[in-house]
Symmetry: C2
Subunit: 182 residues, 2 copies
């Protein structure tokens, strides 16, 4: 049963040289775990867009990609439009203490993932500042655990339409099925 809301990811302050692989991992988690869109602020990086597009061509599904020039303005508009904001930060409340509230709200959700220095305004704009544990680790891990809690693990069974290949889960080795063309 799909939820009644959609989930969008905004990664702040991307710097291609330093972040390309970390941001790509984040985008792939966004896609694989059922997000609608991946928004990127900082330096616009069309390599992320084309890599993500390559993955959806091969593995199916679709996820929108956009660069965001002014993420504060974007976030304010998001809230004015009736959406809510979840800011992932290790300083926030433990995910288990707020996930039921977040899940039961019917608002579309913008999940904001900071860079090394997050403008304090995001802590104010957020409806929820959420920590995945209060230890330093990884925004990639944080996004994955957050979406896993939100979707109660069902995201691991998403079927992606289209694409050319599909994995057959296997105890040993690699089994890949080529999808037939229709």
């Amino acid at each position: 049963m799909p939820p009644n809301y959609r989930v969008y990811i905004l990664k702040l302050d991307h710097r291609p040289e330093r972040d390309k692989r970390v941001t790509m991992h984040t985008a792939l988690v966004a896609r694989a775990f059922g997000s609608q869109s991946f928004y990127l602020s900082g330096i616009c990086d069309n390599n992320i867009k084309s890599n993500l597009s390559g993955v959806t061509q091969q593995w199916g599904g679709e996820i929108e990609f956009s660069c965001i020039n002014n993420p504060v303005k974007f976030s304010k508009k998001w809230k004015e439009g009736g959406g809510e904001i979840i800011h992932l930060t290790m300083y926030g409340l433990q995910v288990d203490d707020v996930i039921d509230d977040i899940r039961s709200s019917l608002k579309d959700k913008l999940v904001i993932i900071g860079g090394p220095k997050v403008d304090p305004i995001y802590y104010e704009l957020a409806d929820y500042n959420v920590a995945i544990g209060n230890q330093p680790h990884s925004e990639i891990a944080a996004l994955a655990i957050f979406l896993d809690r939100l979707f109660k693990g069902r995201e691991l069974y998403l079927e992606f339409s289209g694409g050319t290949v599909r994995i057959i889960p296997s105890p040993r080795g690699k089994r890949v099925e080529r999808k037939k063309e229709h």
Copy 2:
């Protein structure tokens, strides 16, 4: 209640120039989610060691770090010594289908995280080839979700002894407590 086994992480095929941030994220997840050690094969990278050490000095706990010259030999010895191997791969069996077996075995666990090209021998050496969903995403996310399933979410409440700071979870902003010296 701590489990009766320990969990060790082996990241294969590290290349410092390309992987430094992704491997560092992986090491931080290993630490934050309760692993005993972080082993690195490929090119030995003492920056990972010193960064990890800096994090434990500030945030507490301890995690061993070692570079492994011959990871196949190391993995074979691990099994000869009575440990079991979990290889995280998107081609494996869904985590939900095997996690109860893995959790109930009392053997120490070596969780192997591959690089882009994994020697097929790891699929054979592994007691379990485990997928976190069968879509491409991120080994960082995969490790986090695997450990979260293994420890049933309790890892987010680990207390780390020592260190100089501790976060007080907060709905807004950052609250950090400086630990008193003893």
